[in-house]
Point group: C2
Chain length 359, copies 2
């Protein structure tokens, strides 16, 4: 059903425009309702990742009094999880929810907006996106594809992941088949590992069957939900490959431009509210999940030895330098990102860092 | 002018409800436009603090297509900065923007929602408010006053402040007249200092005249704007009294309930978006301001010696224990806050803390 509402009408009786029948004259354009489809890279309603797009749809529906309805689809329901970008670009659907590093084959600079090894934390990334020029660069990068990107939640710092054997040296990474996307995967490849890209729904069976030896996913809250503790013995909490992972809303530019300006603003502000809300939820739930993994499921917690962390960081610097040399867009975005990171690090090193020690 | 729009109408010609005159029948209630006043505790448009309510007003106006207009007033324009709570409670105005610790004389537990010495960081506070039961406790606390509170931005970790003389020991705090609100002021009082409560606009002249010896305010971005470097020599970056200061929107409950549900949701989501946006702006601008203070204005940076930090922390524990004993509401809110903090600290101590060291 199409709901039509008329704005800016003149009551023929200037008073008494109350509950009774009202004869009205349209003075402005008639407003339509809109039905959008949003495809995602996550299982439908998956904790955190899959809840963020549902929250967005609910907020938009409520704020627009039903004038913009967004139907959310899990990975594979309409299109596979890794075809979200193309579906939004082609206009098959109006929106998507995903992670920007999944598109690095098509757009080498895209991972910078999601997560960079040894890069910015969540609050640093958000500050860069919204007050450091990051979002403008992101929009510029997706514009040739007819897509408007917006920050779409953040998982917080992601754990190094689940391993079937312990990692005691860089040597132990050689030949390791690990599910890890983005630049983290590039770094591990350079360390001699074999990075594999799989959507969330494919990981557990691959880990259990031995098709992969290790996987990162998100952190305790999501990792508990997928049951990885049943398939790998060691859980590494060290933060290195995704220090604050930003998700993304992808919006078909043509569909967005067809919306009246109030609905455009509702889309933008709902995305921003979901951006914080998703982080709040991860932060609140991660520690409880971690305690469940440790106390109930007897997971063996590990941290990466310092030489492994240093080795991964050295390779990260090489990988980024090569990306900068190979792709002008990567170079342009990286300059903005790295300058901002250097500045905000100075600030956090004199505030949050000593506070974590002192409190 | 009152703009009236009719929702859910039936076109007498079921097709062709286009640009032409439309005769319509009202099936639902007629929607009105609303004009709200928002009073604040900050100078009009003051960087960060005073910009947050303006952003809120802009978002609400745009999302509601002008059906809810919010006029923002600086401290003293309609009511003094410290009478924001009463003005909203009495319905003199529909909204306010302030800091919860200003109301500790009336509601002893209120500072917990803003900042607690040696308490949670920004992201931890947001997680507690939105997924740890904090917001519900806050709403319960303000309900007898007819006020609905919402998170209204966060300044990030606040610097210890500006001092006319160096602080080398707890002894140096004795007799020190310092502008500092909330529980931080209670702690300093117990250390022998004389805490003074002044609104932002009153601080500079008091510091310059010698009426006070020291002041905290926010951090580099705001402190630079107020020019405190012209009135005090030493700037202490140490984080202790406000590790992540949450601001607040105060909404008159009766005014809120008069809104249709779509406008209620627009108010709620705009507040949430501003909550992150304000932090993003502080994080982006604080370091540049800090470099300006150091390089251009030759400010002497200092950190509180470890024995002073330990001394302040010990007194903080005493002050909080007394507040818990004296006020049942403080005890109830503190139980929720402190349990959540203990849990999220465990999580951050194994993730962000080592990451700040490793990167």
């Amino acid at each position: 059903m199409k709901i039509i509402s008329v704005v800016a009408i003149t009551c023929l009786t200037l008073t008494g425009c109350g509950q009774q029948e009202t004869v009205a004259k349209a003075e402005a354009s008639v407003q339509q309702s809109f039905q959008w489809k949003m495809v995602t890279s996550w299982p439908k309603n998956f904790p955190g990742l899959g809840v963020a797009p549902e929250k967005f749809a609910t907020l938009v529906n409520e704020m627009s009094a039903g004038r913009l309805k967004v139907q959310v689809y899990g990975a594979g329901e309409l299109v596979p999880g890794f075809e979200v970008f193309d579906a939004v670009s082609q206009g098959t659907v109006q929106m998507g929810h995903s992670g920007s590093y999944y598109w690095k084959g098509k757009i080498p600079a895209s991972p910078i907006f999601g997560a960079i090894p040894f890069g910015m934390t969540v609050t640093e990334l958000n500050a860069w996106l919204h007050y450091g020029g990051g979002l403008e660069l992101w929009q510029e990068l997706y514009k040739p594809f007819g897509i408007i990107p917006m920050a779409g939640g953040n998982t917080g710092a992601q754990f190094a992941g689940w391993f079937k054997k312990e990692i005691n040296s860089m040597e132990d990474l050689k030949g390791l088949k690990m599910r890890i996307p983005g630049l983290g995967g590039e770094v591990l490849k350079r360390a001699g590992a074999i990075p594999v890209t799989l959507t969330g729904g494919e990981i557990f069976s691959s880990l259990q069957s031995g098709a992969i030896d290790a996987t990162e996913w998100v952190g305790p809250y999501n990792d508990l939900a997928f049951g990885f503790y049943q398939a790998a013995e060691y859980y590494y909490s060290s933060i290195w490959h995704e220090p604050g992972t930003g998700l993304e809303f992808l919006i078909n530019e043509k569909a967005y431009k067809e919306l009246p300006s109030d609905l455009q603003k509702i889309v933008e502000v709902a995305a921003r509210a979901v951006n914080e809300d998703t982080l709040d939820e991860y932060n609140a739930r991660n520690n409880n999940a971690l305690q469940t993994l440790i106390n109930k499921h007897k997971v063996q917690m590990r941290t990466m030895p310092a030489p492994v962390m240093a080795g991964l960081k050295a390779i990260t610097d090489e990988v980024i330098a090569e990306q900068v040399a190979a792709d002008p867009n990567f170079a342009k975005v990286w300059q903005s990102y790295s300058e901002f990171m250097a500045s905000i690090r100075t600030y956090h090193d004199s505030t949050l860092k000593p506070y974590f020690e002192a409190r």
